[in-house]
Symmetry: C2
Subunit: 222 residues, 2 copies
């Protein structure tokens, strides 16, 4: 038996108009996906009965997406796409050239839930509080490799190298990284700079393209 | 000397407030990119003088993107992304399960121009009038290979095969292809079905992911 929160009950019974007896798919990130039946339907609460497991629990690859938050709509979009592409953690980073509007982590986390429901994932990546890139790098565990989409490498595409294991994809802000950031990243031996073609990609496009390359090399697309 | 259209003059002098003597980058799809100087600035007309070529003319690879138009905002988005990723032609196709709102080709073409300006391309892909997928296939020149993003292949990723030459990437509608369409496409020897990971991607995500795989295998990202 799974009790529903008030927003869940509102969505299922107020918005979607489900009644008692209706069937739906549920997941909680720990027990796979289940067919569940509505056994109590009120506007403010409700209860589901899990009937049968339909998917085993699987996790995303141990991949983070770090990106510099941009305009609200495109930030929402990057979170949606990161979930579809398959990441374990989404970390907004503030760079020297980030023109950061306020990032509403709770709203981004809600987008991540919706995207997971939409794409058939049975987990929801965590959206972390925004942090300064410099601080993130100060505390970095060098065991986690970084794939950095780098405009300065434009046109010189080479296949992703490195090794299987924890990774993070890092996408810069639309103005690029600052010279200081670029120097620091270039000097880290766990950072691999990757060209994403001869044109300048927007950050959202770059995120999907970089995640595609990673997923087909090291991830769960293989 | 390059005379400006009224909308161009309005944008440069009304919106961007450029004055005589200002410099800007221009391209026409045939002569590369040039630095140009404003020599006449009026609200309804204007004249530029080309000063120096800054990029040679290059074209996109001979790649088409065919996709089933979806909600307006996401269709706009797919056009923008196709330009950034590098395609020669964008062809909206109506499939059995396409819930087609009206497609405004002139508006999509304007989006393509903006995206080209943004990403540093020196050409603008043509946006074709929407056509039924069945008719497009009736008239298909089998010399052009098709890479088809196929949900039914989910999880079974294999590197893109085929050969260098003209290609089209085909992305289905969010409800997938109909069984009849799927059978027909599966029977065509110039169609290659490609899995795009274990999750169900939205059409816009699938387009970018498929274009990434094509560009790194056969395109101008190599």
């Amino acid at each position: 038996m799974v009790p529903l929160s008030q927003p869940q009950a509102h969505y299922l019974f107020g918005v979607m108009r489900l009644a008692e007896g209706a069937m739906l798919s549920v997941f909680d990130g720990q027990n796979g996906e289940w067919d569940a039946r509505v056994v109590e339907a009120n506007k403010r609460r409700g209860m589901l009965e899990c009937v049968e497991q339909t998917k085993p629990q699987t996790g995303p690859p141990d991949l983070w997406l770090m990106f510099a938050p941009i305009k609200k709509a495109r930030t929402d979009f990057i979170v949606e796409k990161a979930v579809e592409m398959g990441v374990a953690r989404i970390l907004p980073v503030l760079t020297d050239f980030t023109n950061a509007e306020r990032v509403r982590v709770d709203r981004l986390q809600a987008h991540a839930v919706e995207a997971a429901e939409q794409c058939g994932a049975v987990y929801v990546p965590e959206v972390a509080e925004p942090q300064k890139l410099a601080k993130v790098l100060d505390r970095w565990d060098s065991f986690r490799q970084i794939m950095m989409g780098d405009e300065a490498q434009a046109g010189r595409f080479a296949p992703l190298t490195g090794s299987v294991g924890p990774w993070a994809v890092l996408i810069g802000p639309e103005g690029g990284f600052s010279p200081a950031e670029r120097d620091r990243l270039a000097g880290l031996d766990y950072v691999q700079r990757v060209a994403l073609g001869p044109r300048i990609l927007r950050a959202d496009t770059a995120a999907i393209a970089a995640l595609t390359l990673w997923q087909t090399t090291y991830g769960d697309w293989r």
